[in-house]
């Protein structure tokens, strides 16, 4: 073989191959006219410090259009940017502030509420917002097909007296202590395009950003509403939300500058980012989620309340908060966060960890056989700690991991065979909302199959008060708390905060009590 005389020798071959490889692997990146990386960063870095720019956000779950009113997955983003409600709670109190309603007057008997609306608000379609839209939105929210959490409260609004385009009186079936929760939660919908809500084809609201486009499983795009009723707002021109299901890919996207804000990095990644400088981790305080251990009280081994008390005494809540949620939360015995009018410190320490007491209770009852502990992805670490805690007092637990769809099916179908771990929301609102809106707490039908006339009565009493706050309400909530602590069909672990991690150039990032981002005052420096 004479490779050199052929004109296609080894040296030539290697040289040609090298050039080809460089052209394929590196040339495209290095010789390209424009860098894709620079383009990704351009939205933030080249933005005007105060006004303009594109905020790129990464989240792990896509929108489910049919779930628009359920406060799950990506719906808080759409609701927070596109829609507005009549009033808004500050994150740390239950003192309603005006939003689309300028003022309101609750009747002395608590059975009607008159609302005065803003007259300078337009939907993104250009149509003016009026009292008819309030009626339409509340009626839509109460429709069973939307499965909205505060549906029972919306259904208690039985009459709508439209006095003028800017004045409406809501007639209530009974006094409704959580009426302001309802008004804070229900997005004002455009009746002309409501048939497209469930398909995700368009979203028309009155909010600071207009919905532009959705690429399923990939992206949601919004742009500034130029006719927004708050002058000179929003600052941002555009918001692009990327769906990045993998937590590592989400972290990489944030670190590489592809996005400027990420929702729900793993708690450990967020902790490390916060320490590294250049990033801010926002614990969504005021929009608490609460981890709990659920109990099927009809299982013979768990029917004896002393076994449930032993479980409550054996939980190492501090360890779960510190190790799993990396300190982004705090332990609780009661289902209310610390800023709730129902929170009471003495009740909150009732089941502090006490292993001798747990063992003593188990000695007095029939020791349970091995119990299944069901959990969905994301709750594996909590389940393992609960398993170890229960082993400390001699309760054997078998971990039962299921996927999210199966978990929901078992939760709503009352199909858990023993224990389960997950979290609940809505405790940060008027406490009666929890017992009528969050399914695990529902007095009449819940995942635990717990049925107690005393609990039902306490929950109904608290719900049908005219005022959601004040001494009378606090007494009613404490009665509910006592029922929950006595029944122990749900054993609380503690608050965990959902987190957004942002690069430091993002300023003015805010959120509602339902974890909806509020970007009205957000800007990029």
């Amino acid at each position: 073989m004479n490779s050199t005389s052929s004109g296609f020798g080894r040296r030539n071959f290697l040289r040609t191959s090298g050039i080809a490889a460089a052209a394929i692997f590196g040339g495209a990146a290095l010789a390209a006219c424009t860098s894709a990386v620079s383009e990704q960063k351009a939205g933030g870095d080249d933005a005007t410090p105060v006004r303009g720019g594109t905020l790129k956000v990464g989240i792990r779950e896509d929108l489910v259009p049919a779930n628009l009113l359920t406060n799950t997955a990506a719906t808080p983003i759409v609701i927070g940017l596109v829609y507005e409600s009549l009033i808004r709670y500050p994150n740390d109190t239950l003192d309603p502030k005006p939003l689309l309603a300028k003022s309101w007057q609750l009747a002395a008997d608590g059975r009607s509420l008159s609302l005065d609306l803003r007259d300078d608000v337009k939907f993104h379609s250009g149509r003016p917002f009026t009292a008819k839209d309030v009626e339409f939105s509340l009626r839509t929210y109460a429709d069973a097909k939307w499965s909205a959490q505060l549906r029972s409260s919306a259904a208690a609004v039985t009459g709508f007296d439209i006095v003028s385009p800017t004045r409406i009186v809501l007639r209530l079936a009974h006094p409704l202590s959580n009426i302001y929760d309802l008004l804070d939660t229900v997005p004002i919908l455009d009746s002309e395009t409501a048939d497209k809500l469930g398909t995700g084809d368009t979203y028309i609201g009155t909010g600071p950003f207009k919905y532009v486009q959705r690429v399923p499983n990939s992206q949601l795009i919004f742009e500034k509403n130029p006719d927004y009723w708050i002058p000179e707002r929003p600052y941002l021109d555009r918001v692009e939300v990327s769906i990045i299901p993998d937590p590592n890919a989400l972290l990489n996207a944030l670190k590489s500058g592809q996005i400027a804000a990420a929702r729900e990095l793993s708690y450990r990644d967020a902790e490390n980012l916060g320490k590294s400088g250049g990033y801010t981790v926002h614990d969504l305080e005021g929009a608490e989620l609460q981890a709990y251990v659920g109990v099927n009280v009809t299982e013979p081994a768990l029917a004896d309340v002393r076994v449930r008390q032993a479980i409550a005494y054996s939980l190492d809540r501090e360890r779960i908060i510190n190790e799993v949620f990396r300190g982004a939360g705090y332990p609780l015995n009661v289902p209310w966060p610390k800023n709730s009018p129902a929170f009471d410190e003495s009740r909150n320490t009732k089941y502090s960890r006490d292993l001798p007491k747990a063992k003593q209770l188990l000695d007095q009852s029939a020791r349970p056989p091995k119990l299944p502990l069901t959990f969905a992805p994301g709750y594996g670490e909590v389940a393992q700690i609960v398993q170890a805690n229960l082993a400390d007092v001699g309760i054997e637990v078998e971990l039962d991991p299921v996927d999210a769809a199966t978990f929901v099916k078992q939760l709503t179908g009352q199909q858990f065979r023993g224990l389960w771990v997950t979290d609940h929301s809505w405790a940060q609102f008027v406490p009666s909302t929890l017992t009528v809106s969050a399914y695990p707490f529902n007095a009449r039908r819940n995942a635990s199959r717990y049925d107690s006339p005393a609990y039902t009565a306490a929950a109904d009493t608290a719900w049908q008060l005219a005022q959601g706050t004040g001494p009378e309400a606090v007494r009613a909530y404490q009665a509910v708390t006592d029922q929950l602590l006595e029944g122990l069909f749900l054993i609380e672990i503690g608050v965990r905060f959902q987190q957004y991690s942002t690069v430091n150039k993002v300023h003015g990032f805010a959120w509602t009590k339902r974890r909806e981002p509020v970007l009205t005052d957000t800007f990029l420096s």
Partner: protein
């Protein structure tokens, strides 16, 4: 060739029909359904029933199957229950992304394997063999879920020259220079194990060919070694490579699921994962059937190409 193709078609159609029945039934055996997902955690049984009725899930399973089969045969794929939008659009978009990624990866793999294999037999040397063997071993041994993050860490975070993930914002056509940058990392990640396997098989096939008598005869006639390799041995070795390529293409599509997750590439893999985890029946049924169809078609193409290259198979097919 046409007769050979017609001979193979009935079994392919039978496989597709069987797959459609299995897919439909298996999905319904999985616990959880779209109605509970749509209803959410706080739904009452009445709400779930209302949604189940709306989706037609309260009808008998055979009725649901026939309805679905009729829709598929008339190319009316309907709407996705959970993800939302027309299934045709969802599948079209996902398929385009996956095809662009896998075809790029396949081209890379074929190119690399051809160059390396031909170089290995044209200029045999110990160091080249050692380097190629080591590279192949690493490429096969390292799983894509390790290679992917490594590539991102190096080329998107440590030395930020390429995007960490995603597809080109303006599509693949509008800005080819940008599109290539988005494609490079996931395509390399996906191509590595395939190129290693192809290189190994092609090199061995070439060496086997070069040990045959006709090569000795050709050399004795004074034909250049390069010509013998490129025009003789390579052509004879290609059928073996094609068979491996068919199998590897299937693996490539399987590997695409992991690569798509690591590089946030919204392709079919991501769509299947989302659809299954959310029990989006109509979408998953179409996607799984499509996956089976792709495998059947690839197998068919491989066999036809094989028959084209090797007349004995054609004749066998005819008889």
């Amino acid at each position: 060739m046409t007769r050979y193709l017609l001979h193979r078609l009935p079994s392919a159609l039978l496989v597709l029909f069987g797959a459609s029945v299995l897919i439909f039934l298996l999905l319904r055996l999985v616990p959880g359904d779209p109605a509970t997902i749509l209803a959410g955690n706080d739904a009452t049984p009445q709400t779930i029933e209302v949604i189940r009725h709306q989706l037609g899930l309260d009808r008998a399973v055979p009725v649901q199957y026939l309805h679905w089969l009729g829709d598929v045969l008339t190319l009316d794929l309907g709407r996705s229950y959970i993800i939302g939008g027309e299934i045709t659009d969802l599948v079209g978009r996902g398929l385009t992304n996956t095809l662009v990624l896998t075809v790029t990866a396949l081209l890379l793999a074929v190119l690399v394997s051809l160059v390396v294999s031909v170089a290995s037999v044209l200029w045999p040397s110990r160091w080249l063999d050692t380097v190629v063997a080591a590279a192949n071993t690493i490429a096969v041994a390292l799983p894509t879920f390790v290679v992917g993050p490594l590539l991102v860490l190096v080329f998107a975070i440590a030395i930020p020259v390429l995007p960490a993930g995603g597809v080109p914002p303006d599509g693949f056509i509008a800005r080819p220079d940008i599109a290539v940058q988005y494609l490079l990392l996931p395509a390399i990640c996906l191509a590595l194990p395939v190129s290693a396997a192809l290189t190994r098989f092609l090199t061995e096939a070439l060496r086997t060919e070069l040990a045959k008598q006709y090569v000795l005869t050709a050399r004795s006639l004074g034909i250049g070694y390069r010509e013998i390799v490129t025009r003789g041995a390579l052509r004879n070795a290609l059928p073996t490579m094609l068979t491996v390529l068919g199998i590897q293409t299937g693996q490539l599509l399987g590997g695409a699921v992991l690569v798509e997750a690591a590089f946030v590439w919204p392709g079919i893999g991501q769509l299947i994962e989302q659809g299954i985890s959310r029990r989006d029946y109509p979408l998953v049924q179409v996607l799984l059937l499509l996956s089976v169809a792709v495998f059947v078609v690839i197998q068919l193409i491989t066999d036809v190409a094989h028959a084209w290259l090797d007349p004995r198979i054609r004749i066998g097919g005819r008889s």
